[in-house]
């Protein structure tokens, strides 16, 4: 038992308490606040698990972006009195028992998992020089399991299309209704003038170092998306119409570059999504840059919500 173990145990207790309060909090708004805190704590847990890439993603997307979405929704829903007819006690007890059973099963599976630990880590490290990358996680995402990453981008686009599809017919290709303040708020405007230049530099830096160090397209793209949303919320610029050609091009740019490089691999290397020897790293960096743009656009638009009908003012 070291001090670190005690600190970890404390962290786990904190995470569990706050996690539980997102479930058991009386009001939805309190639960959402707890969830944002929970997301940040979880990022620390991932640091303790030596998964810095995941920690960055969790902090940026899991805590930050998801938290923002949930807060926005909770604020809108707070106006509605929710007729709270919680499930009857026996039902809850029964559900609680089953969920405890599931958790216990999972815990048992973890504790009883084979003592001989198999892992792909050696194989990943051994083949990493062929990709020219220094960050093994980037190697997995963009070389070994590139197909998953490519298709996951398509998932993101489909989700965005799904969100857009919830617009009323006449609002199609309108402007996403991300209105929080009726009037421009001077303090927020100030923030939105000062922060984005810094944020954009950080976002680009994140994407750039991703090839060799923790970071990459997801984390960088999320920061860029946050900056864009800040500018939109402060009303320094309107969100683009969902039919905007540049927006559409930005959204598909990353996947198109990814897919093109993948198909070029059929000719230049010997398989789909294979990179020609020696050119792997520049190609992967190019893909990451293109994806950063697309991820930033997709995440920001996902958070901005469906287009709203034009309001007569």
């Amino acid at each position: 038992m070291t001090i670190a173990t005690f600190a970890d145990a404390g962290l786990v207790l904190l995470v569990l308490t706050i996690g539980a309060s997102t479930i058991f909090a009386r009001r939805a708004f309190d639960a959402v606040i707890a969830f944002v805190v929970y997301g940040l704590l979880l990022a620390i847990v991932w640091v303790r698990l030596s998964a810095i890439d995941v920690a960055l993603t969790e902090a940026a997307i899991g805590g930050g972006m998801t938290g923002m979405l949930l807060l926005g929704a909770a604020a809108r829903l707070r106006a509605v009195e929710f007729d709270s007819f919680a499930a009857a006690l026996p039902v809850r007890l029964c559900a609680g028992f089953l969920c405890a059973l599931a958790a216990a099963g999972l815990a048992g599976a973890l504790l009883l998992s084979p003592k001989v630990v198999l892992s792909l880590a050696p194989a990943v490290m051994e083949n990493l020089p062929r990709t020219g990358l220094g960050n093994p996680v980037a190697g997995v995402l963009f070389a070994y399991r590139a197909l998953d990453t490519l298709l996951e981008k398509v998932v993101l686009l489909l989700a965005l299309l799904g969100v857009w599809s919830l617009a009323p017919n006449q609002a199609w290709n309108g402007i996403p209704g991300l209105r929080i303040y009726d009037q421009p708020n001077t303090t927020l405007t100030f923030l939105a003038q000062i922060l984005p230049p810094v944020g954009i530099v950080v976002g680009i830096y994140m994407c750039w170092v991703g090839a060799n160090e923790p970071g990459g397209a997801f984390q960088g793209g999320t920061i860029l998306a946050a900056m864009w949303l800040l500018v939109i919320i402060a009303r320094l610029a309107d969100a683009p119409s969902t039919g905007n050609t540049w927006l559409r091009i930005g959204l598909v740019f990353g996947p198109v570059v990814f897919l093109s490089v993948g198909l070029a691999g059929l000719v230049l290397a010997n398989a789909f999504l294979a990179y020609p020897p020696g050119y792997a790293k520049p190609l992967i960096v190019a893909i990451e840059v293109a994806l950063t743009i697309s991820i930033a656009a997709a995440l920001a638009m996902l958070a901005a919500g469906p287009p709203k009908p034009v309001q007569q003012q």
């Binding site: 939805a28 995941v54 829903l77 919680a86 969920c99 958790a103 973890l110 880590a121 998953d148």
Partner: protein, 113 residues
């Protein structure tokens, strides 16, 4: 107990909590929150798997880490879609519940009983 196991068990507990919330909360927003909790618990199981494979020089298996990054992005997309659905429901009906007062599923429930 290693730190990996500790966090893995934490993940299992969080998954159980999230599952409970997802099943019992009647309010859609709370269900979405619970789903996120369940998701993060499951991601910690990946973290356990990754960390357990740590050896000298390698802090953990990068494959599960990459999978978690993919899954976090997917979970965010799912949350965004679910919230958009809830808010659209609110816009149209002035309330946001999953309780079936629509004729379609009401007939189903009546047939059930």
């Amino acid at each position: 107990m290693s730190d990996a196991t500790l966090f893995g068990l934490c993940g299992a507990a969080l998954a159980g909590l999230g599952l409970y919330g997802l099943v019992t909360h009647p309010e859609p927003l709370r269900k979405i929150l619970a789903f996120n909790l369940l998701g993060s618990g499951v991601f910690l199981v990946f973290g356990f798997v990754s960390r357990r494979a740590a050896t000298a020089g390698v802090p953990g298996d990068p494959v599960p880490q990459a999978m978690v990054i993919t899954a976090i992005v997917v979970a965010f997309a799912a949350t965004a879609l679910a919230i958009a659905l809830v808010l659209r429901l609110l816009e149209q009906t002035g309330r946001a519940t999953l309780s079936s007062d629509d004729p379609a599923s009401a007939t189903g429930e009546k047939g059930n009983s």
